[in-house]
Symmetry: C2
DNA sequence: CTTGACTTGTCTATTGCTTGACAGTTTATC
DNA sequence: GATAAACTGTCAAGCAATAGACAAGTCAAG
């Protein structure tokens, strides 16, 4: 009630300057305290300063950095590369992101193979209906039912190949076609 | 040359009974020795017996088991679940595989989101051409160029929804549409 | 019997955290 | 001013599935 400033606490937080302790920051960003402690330990995000009791104090610039970190983490970029990107903003960033895109593609390929394998293991046709697996046959039926004839389908392949070759490749793979079959189709168009 | 049996070695391998040491087995299956050691340590694949020098000896039945393990591993099933499946062949196998399929779907969803995010971060349209990312716009252009009109496209959606609803959902997601947009499209058909 | 090549078992490191323990600090209440 | 709750710090271990280092063991040749 008597006021020597309304709450000079032991942490010496400047409420108007937006300074936070670990747990508070963690809660703000939906992270666990441990995560922030970990980021500190690997030198990815060090708090601006500490109190005399050695408590971590994070400031606004730390928050900016944390936001960048989380964005990149949401993109699946590993912490080691995030560190590089933040230290060397322009230079390597593009390369790292493109690299990550390639890794994602690779990962998707693997996952599709796993899907096929499992379906094969289960070998229960009734399950197939519920699963997001399209076979070549089904796909053709769908296009046919939409009114495309042989000529139209050829056009479709050609157009797909021209507009988005990489996506075309991925799509054919997702139908479970063999590499040779894919090569054949793509070369025809 | 003199024969007290043509090679009674310290390991006491019976060459006709197909027994192998760790490294040999590893090489046969293209695995690292560490992998087999690990499988042993967690009780997933224990060698049939050991030599007096405590070397691991794997027999044919171990090889059968290993093949099953690798097949399931190739399907992305975690070792802990593989163990359960091998101990209790019939009962839980189906459930575990279906569960794995769901996890794969989930993982693909995450990867697609990461793809979108990275492309957004890069924001370099010239890269987009090389990447397997299809936008709604592009997709429509492709179908149009194949000769489908508005009516045909509607048919196409309906047919897709009827034949493979889950795949339809996945496909729409992969175009980067928002959940609401997806819901709308699917309900119309 | 010694040398060298090749094993073996055991142990540690990796990624991105999470969980937990234990001790010191701060805060709020009485 | 004491006390309890809620915080903080540091350290350690844990997860999956290997990869690699290391010293000790084994084998074939000389």
């Amino acid at each position: 009630m008597c006021s020597r400033g309304h709450s000079v606490n032991g942490l010496r937080l400047h409420p108007n300057r937006m300074e936070y302790t670990v747990s508070k920051l963690a809660r703000m960003y939906g992270l666990s305290r441990s995560t922030l402690l970990y980021y500190d330990s690997i030198g990815l995000l060090k708090p601006a300063h500490r109190t005399e009791a050695h408590y971590r104090i994070y400031t606004e610039s730390d928050m900016n950095r944390l936001e960048q970190i989380r964005t990149l983490r949401n993109a699946g970029v590993p912490l080691s590369e995030i560190k590089i990107m933040l230290e060397d903003p322009a230079s390597r960033s593009g390369r790292i992101l493109v690299q990550r895109l390639k890794a994602i593609q690779q990962q998707m390929k693997i996952l599709r193979q796993q899907q096929r394998l499992i379906v094969h293991l289960l070998d229960k046709p009734q399950l197939l209906k519920k699963l997001p697996l399209l076979s070549k046959k089904k796909w053709i039926l769908i296009l046919r039912a939409s009114g495309l004839d042989d000529k139209g389908m050829e056009l479709w392949h050609r157009e797909f190949e021209k507009t988005a070759p990489a996506a075309h490749q991925d799509f054919l793979e997702s139908l479970g076609l063999s590499p040779e079959e894919i090569r054949e189709i793509r070369q025809q168009h």
